[in-house]
Symmetry: C3
Subunit: 247 residues, 3 copies
């Protein structure tokens, strides 16, 4: 059993945060809320987001796992107007989720959760360095890096107390360097890792420009990236595996 | 002889209403006005629009039929600015239409009307059901239907007094259902027909969101769809043939 | 030695004025300023723009020639926000130009100037006719001409004192004709030449709509086209070779 009502815009933002990495997702549902957790097909990046029951206008659920086409569900929500709510109701017998937005009723066929890649368990990592900064710094760094390379370096200089996004191309190099006064907070430590731009470009699409984003960094480190999903009062967190570095 | 002056924006909207179904059109001209009537190449949909002489700033015409490239004439009007008028003058000897918009003078080669498909005569049909509703309901229904299928159903429930736009896909279904209080007016009757989305998607591009649209519906019925062309003070009406329904 | 600081928006507009014709450019630098001068690969059109030292916030240079990828440098400036300055510094030993915009630092590899086409010397031509008009007239004429042809005619009628942009297609013709009262100024003379639209379409992308543009015209004449680059307080001038005319 699962019936829930929530602001359509907030729910759409939640889905988009997940959808930048995966098209389909196993959604864990219980009385506490909905948990979206999925890894991209290459297992390089992972997204994790829990939407607590208290953020719904109405929420009633028994424990279950749904296989959801995130892309399709996001598309349905595109018809919603500002202020609209979305109502969801699970029909277990037919394996369908009925979604209502205003006068529109959509019956979404669910996927067999077993057909969707299992999300990996994550070790609890103690990040050597943490930096919190406005999203637009990441946007600028990612876009500049795209001009010259297909990967970028995230590094913290412990002595200088600076954070840098860098990329090296064949002829051109690019760097966004931020001091203490340009970030919201910085817990310096030894951090220097290379990441594939593919995943950062995808995640950057949903990073809010003017809101704080927290990065957990280290040496050849499984980076963490976390921010509050706009309108959803709930954070999404990503993990991105580092690329091998060549001397 | 044909010379006419009309608001460029209004005339452009008229041309676009016709252009969503056909690229070329036979335009019947007489002292009463200009009549655009054309069927799409597959003869599934028909458009009919008369622009009365009184809606022109200046209008003088003797009876004739012009073969007009609607797409091209619409493109010319794209240079017009708000408040511009368009002046047209027929040069019979050269088979050209001179079009002036502000400082721009365009000489449009006319087509041989005989080379353009003859528009079919229409039986006068008594529609079993009629519903008038704001254009955005159709927009929402058409866009939702496009997510799951390439045709949609328009139906009226005589007992419930509801109007529905529905589409069925392989795994997903979609429906927009409107009661009496959500439409402008409803004359209920037996109506349930399937239409190809191709034509409804095309027509939907020119349906004004906040203005009333009247649908004439029935069982496997040649549907009617009519609304006032924005700024033109004149209605355009479409007919769309139903698709065969399989049990 | 070369270090310079200038408003990022103004410099971007300068680069775009050059970039509509060429991707790479030899930039002549001396204590007076930066000179951009380049011909398109087919040697049909030429751009010439000098950015005087006085328009920089800071400017220090010894004479040199840089081979610059204009397209790339323009792209870097796309990260600039309103009010940002760009700082440039030449590193002669590494043949690189360091470009800083806000927190972004970009190291641009320079090209060997000898690898870039030498810009042709220009004869000093006395134009038979000159017309100055708002940019949007050219925009309208170029866009209308694109509908029917791939070249257009620029002509002045000495007796009527009119300026015309005309194009002839297989079935359709187009003309924008302007009298004395519709242009800013007109020095009439014998002028009638055909130009390839390819170059005029490219240049038209950077012509400001509401600012005056000066055309120097004649019979089968190497046309001149000049206007002030927005925000840069400096003019750019183009030369476009005429096409052969067939009787």
């Amino acid at each position: 059993m699962f019936t829930a009502t929530i602001d359509a815009k907030a729910f759409r933002n939640v889905l988009e945060s997940v959808g930048v990495l995966v098209e389909e997702c196993r959604v864990h549902i219980d009385s506490d809320g909905m948990r979206f957790r999925a890894a991209d097909p290459a297992l390089v990046a992972l997204v994790d987001l829990t939407l607590d029951a208290e953020h719904f206008e109405h929420y009633e659920a028994r424990e279950t796992v749904l296989g959801v086409n995130i892309e399709r569900l996001t598309e349905i929500l595109s018809v919603a107007e500002s202020g609209d709510s979305i109502q969801m109701e699970l029909d277990i017998s037919s394996h369908k989720l009925t979604v209502e937005v205003g006068t529109l009723s959509y019956t979404l066929g669910l996927l067999d959760p077993d057909s969707i890649r299992d999300e990996p368990d994550l070790p609890d990592l103690e990040p050597p360095a943490t930096v919190t900064l406005k999203g637009y710094h990441i946007d600028r760094g990612v876009k500049a890096a795209e001009m010259v390379s297909n990967h970028l370096r995230l590094a913290v200089d412990e002595d200088e107390e600076t954070f840098a996004i860098e990329a090296e191309g064949d002829t051109d190099d690019v760097a966004v360097e931020l001091g203490r006064e340009e970030v919201t907070s910085l817990a310096p430590g030894s951090a220097d890792s290379l990441y594939s731009l593919e995943y950062l470009t995808a995640i950057n699409r949903v990073i809010p420009n003017d809101e704080p984003v927290t990065l957990e960094l280290g040496e050849e480190f499984l980076a963490g990236l976390e921010f509050e999903v706009p309108e959803a009062k709930q954070s999404v967190s990503y993990r991105i595996a580092p690329r091998m570095q060549y001397a």
